[in-house]
Amino acid sequence: MTRGKLCVLPGTARDLAVVTMDDREAVRAARAGDDVAFAALVRRYSGGLHRAVARILADDTEAWDVVQMAFVRAWQGLERYDERWSFSTWLYRIASNLAIDLLRSRNSREKAHRAGAEHRFRVVGETPPASELADRREVDRLFDELVSCLTPQQRSAFVLRELEGWETADVADALGCTTTTVRNHVFQARKLLREELARRFPEYLPKSRRA
């Protein structure tokens, strides 16, 4: 290991060259022990990965832990990674599985947390018309409130397909299921979110949709 490889922040010409590597080149370099190449992959994908995982978990802090764990798992499994597949799909698959496992393990705890969080949200939340819901954070909070009505698989499929804009086939690869299953999950997720939104937060719907 050279001293240059111990530097995490890009700075040298070598580090900058790593930034321009495509995923496959970076993975090959990382397999050969190049930490800078792997760090480039972490920088490239951790933002999007965190956004997706945070929406699946409805928890920003836990999502960072999952992102970190997913990258370490990916590094541990680099030898098994098949270059015919997209690195990002493989990485999201690892992260989705970790997030789904976490959701399953915290079901009861989450219910208690949700009850309190809903109360706080409804007391402090304003009720602007839907067209004015441009504030992303407000929508994120609303989604976090409602997503607990979905199963872990429905959450993951909805987030990757609808919020992250992935192709159905890529979502299926990431979740390890068929495209038909993904479509079913997304369909069910939409239906449940519609119902929960109307039941719990009708003030966020257009007036014509309110009961």
Partner: protein, 168 residues
Amino acid sequence: MRCADMPELLDSYLADVLDGPRRNAVRSHLRTCERCREAAIQADPSLLFVAASPGEPDPARLEDVTRAVVAQIRQQRLQRRLVHRQPWLAAAAALVLTLIAVAGWRLLAPGGGSEPAPAVDAQVAEAPSPPPRIEVDMAGEGVRVYQYADQQDGDTAVTFIVNPKLEL
């Protein structure tokens, strides 16, 4: 994309029959056009979440995660190498301990030394000697492994791994 095309495209979007580029175009349009967003949410309230712009990640947080991940993989790599080299380390430790024991026995055995040892030296020799220490510089890694072992208890040793270059 024209607003006039949106009603038809929205139906196709919800039926999941749009190709990737057109699907992304619909999503982008919903994020920028307030009127179409309102109409979309009316058609299906779950589109409220699709129409919200994704947030930008905090660069400082990304850098923190990158550092944490790299530190973890370096630690794991080091652990793997130590486990891999354990037999060699054990053999080296055994050899050094044997040499120390032989040297000590020759010095302390009657007639082992060339001259009688002074009384003060004998007292020092009877006092517990510090445990032997092994320093191994792992080739090319700049990592030092310090192993402390008690002569009386060959099964127990404490190993410290020090990598002066590692920035955690």
